[in-house]
Amino acid sequence: MASFWLYQSAFALQLAAMALFGAYVVVPRRSLTRVGLAALTAALLFQVAFFVGSWARKGQLPLADNFESLAFMALCMTLAFLAVEWRYHLGILGTFILPIPVLFLFMGYRFRQLEHPPSLALQNSFLAGHVAFSMLAYAFFTIASGVSVAFLVQERQLKNKQPGRVAFELPSLEELERISFLCVLAGFALLTLGSLAGMLWSIQIFGHPLIGDAKVLLGAALWLLYGLYLAWHLSGRFRGRPSAILLLVCFFVLFFGYYLANVYGGGHRFLH
């Protein structure tokens, strides 16, 4: 494991960024989001340093246990958020998204192991690809859910004739919908790639794809739910609130189903 202080610094900076974005909702000072973004960028650098350090030390992708997976998830989310922020300058949107990577980093403390033997399975590039693609997909899905919360807040304020400061800070409803859609599209493509890689790995190792596993079924359910969202969006009829609510349902399944099954349930049954 790379120096743990890198992880702790990243957590502290991420927490500071979240607090600064949160404070911006109360005190409308642009300097708060600017400092927040600087803190977040620094947090990302620490997370990358921790990830690369762990990789170099172990000689394989550091995704062998829950601690490493949570750290990688937080890294992906921070990266995805900064990419979206850089492209769209969303500012206040950080308030809706940043608590999630902070939560993951916090959960990481619970699973930290000082020494962990290298995983033989992860030396297989199909499995490493399966884990990396899937986690990146979840990061994009999480950003899409954060954007949906922003959409629902903005939509309610506009419908109730009380567009507050948050509504005037956020992008337009149309833009928020487009960002959600693009994030889900990217996540869906990554999830598909991740699932294919996982399937190829299981064929390589077991001679057939594994379909009876609860986590595999949950992955398939997620794939279908996000596919349904994409279909709704493209049809036009259910755009707006229904689509945003569906995204939250998807996130609920993702978070409570997948994360908790993975983190507390111990992951794939056949790996034990």
């Binding site: 409308p28 642009r30 903005q154 506009l158 419908k159 509504a167 992008p171 409803l173 036009g236 009829r237």
Partner: protein, 424 residues
Amino acid sequence: MSLIVVGLSHKTAPLELREKLAFNPQAQKQAYELLRRQSALSETVLLSTCNRVELYAWAEQAEPGLRQASQFLLQARGGGEDLRRALYQRQDDEALWHLLQVSASLDSMVLGEAQILGQVKEAYEWAVENKAVKANFHGLFHRVFRAAKEVRTRTDIGRHSASVASVSVELAERLFQDLKSKCVLLLGAGEMGRLTAQHLKGAGASRVLVVSRGQARAEELARGFQGRALPAAQMEEALAEADIVVACTSAEEYLVGPEILSRALGKRHYRPMLLVDLSVPRNIDPAVDSLDKVYLYNLDHLQKLAEEHRERRLASSREAKEMLRGHLEEILAWMKATEAVPVIRSLTAKAERLRQAEFEKNRNRLGHLGPKDLARVEAMTKSLMNKWLNAPLSQLRHASRQPESLRDRLALLEEIFDLKKEEP
């Protein structure tokens, strides 16, 4: 040297007085010709907008400068006692604070309005064109523009609109990503509706449809927007096409109800719609608000929002002032430092003249030296001069960072080296 300002604004003078003093471009050209003859004012910028007329000047001494600037304004526009009473005068840090506040729109009639910075820039460019600006004002105005721009980009001072028409545009921008692809339907020929449609068109809306009771009036209005007039019978088609509906008619009944709007929504594949009802009595049935993807705002909603926005701008102005205070200190320090420039120039010019005179006087006595050695001797005199000047010049540069002691030191240097007689 002092920065001074003399002028009047919406805060000190009513419109009748402001228009009496206003300078159109032709009058400004003549004004700059006259200003060049004012001995106490070395650099000038004349700012004339509908809300203020101000003369900014760089003066050798504040008092005579203010006197001359006031007289100039009063005489140039033939002003009387009422005009004299409305004029305000500021000097040095107060004048700079005023210029900063004006440029950052903190002194405007509509707090945070966007035009004033452009108007101050235009006034400065006009002064440059008329050769009324030299190094000091170039430096000063560019620093002020930077400060004002920072206030606009880093605070919310100019973010929220404060009129019903512009709030409607902001709401449309909250719903739609880009107004360029959007269609506006104007119901009726009411003035406020026309103004709102104009704002939406100005914000980028590409198409305007007009439905009005009188077809001739509708066509005339549509021509003004390069749009299309439709008969009232085609209301449903118009609603299906429109993303933003602005209603402002004198009709006493609802023109748009939930049934017709539901059908129109189906035809437009449930894309969202913004409905702005500016009519009293209302023309859009409030029941349509229950429809999904429909956002209805009436006159009361819009006026309430405009009032909230005015309050938000007021709150942002406090942050803007704090930011400007930092710039005020920086620019004042820079202004003080510029006071040392003429003395530095005089001192180096005098030393150079003495050096050249001494060298020329001795050139004949050095006739036995070849050109190379002569050049070496001249280089030595220059080096000696520079080394000798180094100490007092560094002292001056150091002192310019401590404005309180600068004036005394400058006076002392002028006295010691007898620089008053020198041409700068």
